[in-house]
Amino acid sequence: MKNSLQLRLLIAASTVLLLFLSITALVLDRAFRASVETAVQKKLQIYIYTLLSASEISKAKFVMPEVLPETRFNLPASGLYASVVLHQRGNKLIWKSGSSLDKQIPFIETAPIGEFVSEALVALDGTRLHALSYGVVLETTKGKGKVYTFHVAEDEEISLAEIKTFRQHLWGWFVAPVVVLLMLQWGILRWSLRPLRRVVEELAHMESGKSERLAGEYPDELRGLVNNLNKLIERERKQRDQYRHSLSDLAHSLKTPLAVLRTLLDGHSSNTLDAQTIKFELDKMNQLVTYQLQRAATTGKPVLPNSILIEPILDSLLDTLLKAYRDKNIECQKNIEAESVFYGDAGDLLECMGNLLDNAFKFARQMVRVTVAKGLLLQVEDDGPGIPKDQVTQVLERGVRIDSQKEGYGIGLAVVKNIVEIYGGTLSIDGSALGGARIQVVLPRY
């Protein structure tokens, strides 16, 4: 999990988002609560004024109407309670609202005149209340003033219910945007990381040989990497070509002196033991040089191999061989699975198939059969004399000939074996249904 960029980004961004949104929700909640409380206070103040305006001093007595306009004062257990206290020779409760008949509310005794005092109270029966008290002086018609304190209290439940509703709305409406935001975020991440995914795709293409370089458009951050990768691949290819050319030149320059030496000997046409020995050793030298150079020239699988279609190469080889062995009138059967490909260097494939086919044509009487199957199987059969079982290992060792009269398998099969080994494949020799030798090469996909 730690290895996925996308997952990492997604988790980090989601966490931050959720945290931020949660804090926002909490702040909103808090603010609302505060505003509700303020509203409650304002409401209670208005109730006090209502009570004040409803009350009368009649014949020096405090009178409150039986039924107050605010119905909640009249109904018992309505949640809104009020009382009035007279401060004359002590504190005397002179009026209680209809709703607070059996409610015991521990209001403060007095509130300073002209001032509101707000409290949070708990009634004797456990009800939680917001309370507001107001001290006032009321005058009789004769101008005699008496000090009263008006009390109003409201059940907390009411404001709590409001908060609860708000909270439900808040959180309810909260979830949908959060989900949408998270999805948007995921979408944005995928879009942003697309160039990285494209690199991965293009690399996969190159590995399967469908393309030779990273060709897409990339954002600035990746461009450096992509360009360097392309340069690396190009450099590797150039190096391979350079190496191969210099080896080819080396072959030319080494073999010509050998040819000259040999022809000098031919000129002597002396059959002395010395001359024979020198000729033999020269031939051996030539074979060894050829073999080692062939071996070194085998490039093996490059870093990101191209996929090479086998059929065209096979066709050009068969053209060449049919021309070279025209006199023999060989009939060549070709069984090749369509679109068979070889992952590696084209030169190596040519060398491998060229040697196999050349041997087949050389030793065949009339028929040669080539089979190519995906996976990869290369098989060449002929109807010649075949290779005896006990000589198979000899043949595969370098420079050894079975039949010294003919050119023999010479180093051809040894070269094929070498190439096959470098590509991690296997070579086997046995008999063919056609009557001669069957040589099978199996090369792994990777």
């Binding site: 080819s248 072959a251 030319h252 320059s253 080494l254 073999k255 010509t256 050998l258 040819a259 000259v260 030496l261 040999r262 022809t263 000098l264 031919d266 000129g267 020269l282 031939d283 030539n286 050829t290 062939q294 020239a297 050009s316 080889l317 053209d319 060449t320 021309k323 070279a324 025209r326 006199d327 009138n329 084209a346 030169g347 040519l350 060398e351 198939m353 060229g354 040697n355």
Partner: protein
Amino acid sequence: MRVLVVEDEAPLRQYLKQRLSEKNYVVETAEAGAQALLLTKDSPFDIAVIDLGLPDISGIDLIKRLREAQFTFPIIILTARSQWRDKVQGFNAGADDYLVKPFHLEELLARFSALIRRVGGWATPLLQCGPIVLHSITEEVRVHNQPVDLTAFEYKVLEYLMLHPGKIVSKMELTEHLYQQDFDRDSNVIEVFVGRLRKKIDPNEAIHPIETLRGRGYRFTVPRV
């Protein structure tokens, strides 16, 4: 047979010229592609041996140019490069055979005769026309299964005619293809050889293998078997 040898390494070039001449081939040599092309303008060749690693134009290019110039004589590539990609390239360019250095001279000669025979339409070393049988490797000639003794040049004339059966071969052509340049070219010598050849092959005048076409040349008339 006229042979063109294009080889930049002097010792190998001299060697080929010497040994091929011993085998009665008429040899012209060139050490580079440009020179080779010039030589082809003189008189036609029957076969060419070309090294791939030439100093001026590559052997492959030379072969391509020769084919473009409509020269159809067989070409053997002689080279140190033994990779199949080079062989395939050589054949694609128009070569007919490919020999890797160092080589055995016998192999080269065998391939020469094979290619020349092929041109004449002969698939095997045995050229048989009617009762006349010529073995191009052993250089034996038999008529009605009786061996016939021919000199080297008589043999060459017969072989050339049998390799171009039914075609009119001018005296000039015979002279050019069978004689080195520094030989005294007297067309009467050809007449003499043809006469002798007729006597040896057809003493009873029953077969009439070689027809004389006045002013045009000779033609081998016995049909192929």
